[in-house]
């Protein structure tokens, strides 16, 4: 069974006075299998972020369905949705979204505290993750005291600590320099090796080339997808580049 299934998803935004309608997603269909590492690519305005919001249950589709582990997100009530999100999804954002009032440690604990986990248990879970992410020494620091890459690794730790079924990453390298980006992508790859399913939205070819599969979205539809197969990262990078060139040139017309 697929861990994530998206069926004919449609999202239409209505402007405030109902005069204009903007179709963000027209008809999106895809599946993500357990242990997959999927990158979603597309230009600004192609509907990537809308898609991610719907996957995260932060927004509701106009029509169509999202099934996580076979469960339809639309059927979860508003009260349960936060808990559902906490238990099943991990988030990594472009701007880290760490709370500046917490130390990194407390930031990472946040989802567990919300789930009423005792301190000793949280602490036990944190140590291996912090070591793996190389932030074990930084735990007592505040977000403003550490670099962007370190902040993002703390955010990854926060996403991992709940052992979610799916990690959703929204432009995770968007605010990082190339070295920090490389490091983060390496981390994602190794986390994925350990069996973690990841869906990452990006418009960075370098970031996408580390994934197993790349979905291209254009004008609110899945336009194309590439499987890694036996390709190396470099080979995949080339393939993505040429696909993007075609996409940009407006070729195909679907």
């Amino acid at each position: 069974m697929s861990i994530l299934e998206v069926r004919s998803l449609k999202k239409v935004y209505t402007t405030r006075f109902g005069a204009n309608q903007v179709t963000a997603l027209r008809n999106v269909n895809f599946r993500v299998e357990e242990g997959e590492y999927v990158a979603v690519m597309g230009e600004s305005g192609s509907g990537k972020t809308t898609l991610l919001n719907i996957l995260a249950a932060l927004d509701r589709p106009t029509s169509g369905a999202v099934l996580l582990n076979g469960r339809n997100l639309a059927e979860i009530t508003e009260d349960q949705i936060a808990q559902f999100r906490r238990e099943n999804l991990g988030f990594v954002f472009q701007d880290f979204n760490l709370l500046d009032t917490f130390t990194l440690e407390d930031n990472i604990y946040l989802p567990l505290v919300l789930a009423n986990t005792p301190y000793t248990q949280m602490h036990e879970k944190l140590l291996p993750i912090a070591r793996m992410l190389g932030i074990a020494d930084l735990l007592k620091k505040y977000p403003y005291e550490v670099s962007g890459g370190q902040k993002q690794r703390a955010a990854v730790a926060r996403a991992l600590i709940t052992e979610p079924h799916l990690i959703l990453a929204d432009e995770p390298t968007g605010a990082l320099d190339s070295r920090a980006s490389d490091e983060l992508l390496r981390l994602f790859a190794s986390v994925n090796q350990m069996g973690q399913t990841i869906v990452m939205v990006t418009h960075s070819t370098a970031a996408a080339s580390r994934a197993n599969r790349i979905l291209f979205i254009k004008d609110g539809e899945v336009f194309h997808q590439i499987y890694r197969g036996e390709d190396s990262d470099d080979k995949l990078y080339e393939k993505i580049s040429s696909t993007l060139t075609i996409l940009m040139a407006g070729g195909g017309h679907r």
Binding site: N53, R86, F93, D170
Partner: protein, 723 residues
Amino acid sequence: MTRGFYNRLAWTGIQKNRQLYYPYFLSGIVMVMVFYIFHFLATSEVVHNLPGKAVLPYLFYIGEGAVGLFSIPFLFYTNSSLIRKRKKELGLYNILGMNKRNIFSVLFRETLISYGIVVTVGIFAGFLFSKAAELVLVNIMGRQAGYRIYVDWKGAFVVLVVFAVIYLMILANALWQIHANDPIELLHSDMQGERPPKSRMLLTVLSLVLIGAGYGASAAVTAVEYQLAQIFVTAVLLITGTFLLFICAFVVLCRVLQKNRAYYYQTSHFVTISTMAYRMKRSGASLAAICVLVTLVLVACSFSVSFYAGSMEVLQRTYPYDLSVRVEIPVEKIGNELTKGTCTAGYRSGIDTIIGSVLTDSGQDAGQGGVRQADGCAVHFANMLAMLVDGRLDLARDMRDTWFTPGSGLYPGWTEGNEEIVWLHVLSLEAYNRLCRTTETLGEDEVFVILENGEYRSDRIVLNDSGAGVNVNPAAKAVPAITDVSISLDDGRAKDDRITAHGCRNVFLVVRDLYDFMGGVEGSAAYAQKNYMAYDWEYYWNLSAPEEALYAVYDQVEAHIRTGADKTACYLRLERGENYYALAGAVLFIAVVMDLVFVAVTALIMYYKQISEGYEDQRRFSIMRKVGMTGKEIRASINSQMLTVFALPLLVAGVHLIFTSNIVYMMQKMVVADNKPLMIRVMVVTYLLFAAVYSLVYVMTSRTYYRIVNRASGSRYCGGNGS
């Protein structure tokens, strides 16, 4: 063209920030209005015709000055919260190519517009409400007022000038704030990472020490008028302590709670405690300001209400008779005066004739404003200062050799060690029985000693240096107190130097024969020297008559007693009472108006606090939502935080009020009456009333906060790249 452009820019600047600007205007308008009203009342003809015309205008001028002075920090505060929020916008102007000078000119126009609106609307509102204020004031004093409505042009002019100065200062401050920053900084001024608040243990301890010292100093106040410095110190201690408490102590508390893992890592505490530390750091000063203002309001309110409510009692106590006349008798003439009334017979017959004539007049014109019933009583007193040593009256002490110095103005108190200076009134048993309508008797060498607020504990009084004295009649404890005696009580005298005997206890000494007791002319002369003794003849009348008749009697009596060569004084309770009511009424009126202003200020600080908190928390709560906090949890957390933050000043103010109530009590005791239950009742009612108003303001302003926070943590996802 550019001129018009800047005007338009300034105008849109105000329009776009109306959430911030409208309350700013409102606060300015309230200030201008109150300022104008006070000025109007200070110069109003109606007020000048009120009974308290001697003091009222000055009180209003003081009120006007206070409002003017208070507007400065207040408007500064509102303006700087406004500028802080607008820094980003101004930074953008700068980046888009406006230089600092252009920005200055936009700000100048905005200030000009603000000033124009505030002054125009404020004066207009002041004009509308000034008449209402006048009517309320006149009503408090139970008088009639005319209904002439007019604009106080001079007052309007004063308002224009004063507030022009204030707004110029505000503009200068705003310019200075902008000038100090470069554009990029301005642009990001609301996004700078905030350092975590430090746990400042030392300052916390200091704050508690200061507040404790303030409470101690307040409890030690025994006589307000002599300890103004101490009261000032109390205020400074409490204000400093309160500010430190709010800035440091609550952060420390949060930090301590954070150390306790079992407590801290719970869903309901986790977010609240950690955010609270920041919130207290940011809001500490504002909350402390709110707390101080609230305390001030409560103290002022408690005092003025109990002053007003107790004024009836104090009038009765100070002026027990409708009409009182006092003549000072020279010591050398006292012998003949006491036996034959040589000095006062003329006054007495004159006064009797006057009262009799009014009685006769009214007899012809029954029920038409004459004296219907008259009841007079004349008494001789020897009034002097004396010493209570270990509770025993000692007339042998030469007051010139003690720590007491007449005419030096203020005294630190009337008690030092085991000694207490009292204001002693010696009168004969015969006079006492007439005054109190009793038939007490005294044995040979016996006296009654009657203390105000207390019981005479010794069984003797000392009369000379060898320790000889007389016994106190054991019945002294049971004889009626002379509560209804003597207009001279509150006006102590030391020879020719008038001294204020406020706070000095009155003691009555009832003796068998006044002349003998005082040792004749010789003894009296000695007392006059060493105890600042003076003989007074006092003549009291209770007259049941309408106001006009009483005033007529008073005028005639006053004219009559002035014909003699002696030192005389004459009081009509009605006339004194009107002044008194006028004073009490005006104090109450001013206190209520000032309290309204303070409440408005508190509301405004709260409003701005809610707005800035809202923007600060917007991002935070949207993150929490994404990480998996339910809307319910977020709301619960917000509620508990906001409630704690805004309940704290009210609670601390309540504690302050309890521990400083001694000062209010002493003030009440000084000007009104010793009536603790009344004061406590007034305080409790004031506090509850204020708490209700405060909660209402909180509920109203918190809506703004929720609106701002919900804008982010609503159903919309607010990621960094809203593509």
